[in-house]
């Protein structure tokens, strides 16, 4: 078992629901401080976006963050360099698109992430059939390859995804790209389908925009991923104190 899954299972064993905020790497000069503020406010792990020019699975907020970060010259290497300043002891998970790690070299990318204490990676444009080479690279470097399960995923495929995912299973609450949010979503059903065959930690993401949505999702899963709602605050100029306040709001809702 990879260290990410061990760490997340350890948190779950204490009865605590996992809160995983998403930050776009390199979005501001002080993005590392934003991550630290989120951890102080109760984040259990942090997802870090490595920007891509064509983020197909992301809605307008994360897209803008991708492009803005790229204008600052952000790269996988620059994010790893920045992370050497991070003073926080929570698991880190990279989120990027396949072309970024493909271009870097799969084994080299996995090694670089692990060396930077990033022990998980989410590559949303890599479905089960195409993920083999990346999983092999991750296996050489203690990086957990996190797979997504969608509301449209048929049962036998959910079983395969649940068996192959590492670290946790990313349960997509909606048939949508990141940031869109209306209604309750299918998170509960997706998590239940994962649980039929696997006890891997299952986190609900995509469209978790409010503390109340996070609370409801956490009640039927092992925790939640909060992306666009947080990135929007930073795009609007919010700093560490705004990040801290937002994460505290999600934390207290989930814990209540």
């Amino acid at each position: 078992m990879k260290s990410l899954e061990r760490d997340l299972r350890a948190v779950r064993a204490t009865g605590r629901k996992l809160l995983v905020p998403y930050f776009m790497g390199g979005l501001t000069n002080d993005w590392i401080e934003h991550v630290e503020a989120a951890v102080l406010a109760g984040a259990d792990a942090v997802e870090i976006g490595i920007p891509f020019s064509d983020p197909m699975m992301d809605g307008p907020v994360i897209q803008e963050a991708d492009l803005r970060s790229l204008t600052f010259g952000t790269t996988l290497d620059s994010i790893c360099d920045d992370l050497s300043r991070l003073d926080a002891a929570v698991p880190l998970i990279a989120m990027t698109y396949y072309n970024i790690v493909l271009h870097y070299g799969l084994e080299r990318a996995a090694g670089k992430l692990a060396d930077s204490d990033i022990h998980g990676a989410i590559i949303p444009d890599l479905p089960l059939e195409e993920t083999g080479p990346w999983i092999a690279a991750c296996d050489g470097a203690d990086v957990a390859s996190v797979l997504l399960v969608a509301p449209s995923t048929p049962p036998e495929r959910v079983d395969q995804l649940a068996a192959r995912t590492q670290g946790f299973a990313y349960a997509s609450a909606r048939m949508a790209v990141t940031g869109q949010s209306a209604g309750g979503g299918d998170g509960e059903r997706v998590v239940a389908s994962i649980r039929r065959t696997s006890d891997v930690p299952a986190l609900i993401g995509i469209g978790i925009a409010t503390p109340n949505q996070a609370k409801e999702a956490a009640e039927v899963s092992d925790g939640v991923i909060v992306g666009s709602a947080l990135v929007q605050v930073i795009l609007d100029g919010g700093g560490s104190s705004e990040v801290e306040a937002l994460i505290m709001g999600f934390r207290s809702a989930i814990d209540s």
Binding site: D54, M56, Y97, D125, P127, T153, M175
Partner: protein, 394 residues
């Protein structure tokens, strides 16, 4: 004795043409890709479906399009040139062949809505046209820059009852329109088919689109026989994503013909690209050293795409087809020459292929060669742009 190698056959079970192709999409879209693949395989072996497809093309889209000998241009260049007249197909380009096929498939799958991306607007207009004919709801995604460049095509699509969504993300051109269409498809996949406009995207799209376009090559092969041409020496087509080229190449891939694809110099995925993954496919892409996709820049919006269909990447790699680039500066002259010599105003995309013929006549195209040019589209949509360029030069 070993079997002869056949080109442009089916991709393998993972949707690969050699090392290119595949299906790099989010899990949410996998069921839709599998459904489409199954529906296509079923339909394409169903004589009734094929008959319906051919009937719509004949009764509605103006097929078969003729082959025209280009006598005066041929004399001028020292070549024997035949043009496959896709400019005479309904909506003015080859795009209609693919959208008729895909919209019929949409109905067969029981979906009520199609979405499409468009650059110059040709594929958008074609999709809007087929959707109107078949009673499907249609939304077209178009980069904001392109909606400004091609404002009349936006209006055409609206006249045809479609909704046009200007895409304001990224470079606001074709690649961003593809991203936005993919995002819509993730959200609406239950009742929506994504009618991709070229031989690109995740498997099975590159294969499906090539099959629906292969009627170009099949017809041309038969029609050339009427002129006493068994096999042309060279088959030439312009290449953005590469659907018109794939369609005409398919008729000659297993002959001795040279296959030549002409890219725009500012969108040359074969000439300047490297392998990567974008829009659901592994192919050759224009990208920087970090894997960020670069913006293509061409005088023709239809060639403004930083990638190329995966089968073309494969054909280039195994050297079954050759790909060359033409810069903006040679395109207008080619458009004028074809117009003046033959009475055909080609689309700016097509003019790239004409420009290469002009450049290479007597060189890479030896004098006396028999050439089949895919005249993929008419230039009506580009006339105002050409006028502005010529006016600025004078």
């Amino acid at each position: 004795m070993s079997d002869p190698v056949l080109y442009m056959e089916e991709p393998d079970e993972r949707g690969r043409f050699g090392e290119f192709g595949g299906r790099f999409v989010p899990e949410a879209l996998i069921p839709a890709c599998l459904e489409l693949e199954a529906a296509f395989i079923d339909a394409w072996s169903d004589a009734a479906f094929i008959e319906e497809y051919r009937t719509v093309l004949r009764e509605f889209a103006g097929r078969p399009t003729p082959v025209t000998p280009l006598l005066r241009l041929g004399e001028h260049l020292g070549l024997r040139i035949f043009a496959k007249r896709e400019d005479l197909a309904h909506t003015g380009s080859h795009k209609i062949n693919n959208v008729i096929g895909q919209t019929l498939l949409t109905k067969r799958m029981g979906k009520r809505r199609v979405i499409a991306e468009t650059g110059a607007g040709q594929h958008g207009v074609a999709t809007a046209t087929a959707a109107a004919r078949l009673g499907l709801e249609c939304t077209v995604f178009m980069g904001e820059v392109d909606t400004e460049r091609q404002i009349l095509n936006v209006f055409r699509m609206e006249l045809l009852g479609s909704r046009v969504v200007p895409v304001t993300s990224g470079s606001r051109t074709l690649k961003d329109a593809v991203n936005e269409a993919m995002r819509d498809w993730v959200t609406c996949v239950a009742d929506t088919h994504y009618c991709i406009g070229s031989v690109m995207g995740p498997h099975p799209f590159p294969w499906i689109v090539r099959e629906f376009q292969s009627i170009i090559g099949q017809e041309a092969s038969r029609q050339l026989a009427d002129f006493g041409v068994d096999v042309p020496d060279v088959v030439i087509a312009c290449v953005g994503g590469g659907s018109n080229a794939a369609g005409i190449f398919a008729g000659f891939a297993n002959t001795s013909s040279r296959l030549v694809g002409i890219e725009a110099a500012g969108g040359s995925a074969v000439g300047n690209g490297s392998p990567g993954v974008l829009h659901g496919m592994r192919s050759l892409l224009m990208q920087d050293e970090f894997g960020q996709i670069e913006e293509a820049h061409s005088i023709s919006a239809g060639l403004d795409y930083p990638g190329i269909g995966p089968e073309h990447a494969h054909l280039a790699q195994i050297r079954r087809a050759e790909y060359y680039a033409i810069g903006d500066e040679d395109v207008i002259g080619a458009l004028r020459l074809l117009s003046e010599k033959e009475g055909i105003i080609p689309a700016l995309e097509t003019a790239h292929a004409v420009a290469w013929m002009i450049r290479e006549a007597g060189g890479a195209l030896p004098t006396g060669s028999t050439v089949l040019l895919n005249l993929s589209g008419r230039g009506d949509k580009d006339v105002a742009q050409v006028q502005a360029i010529l006016h600025a030069e004078s």
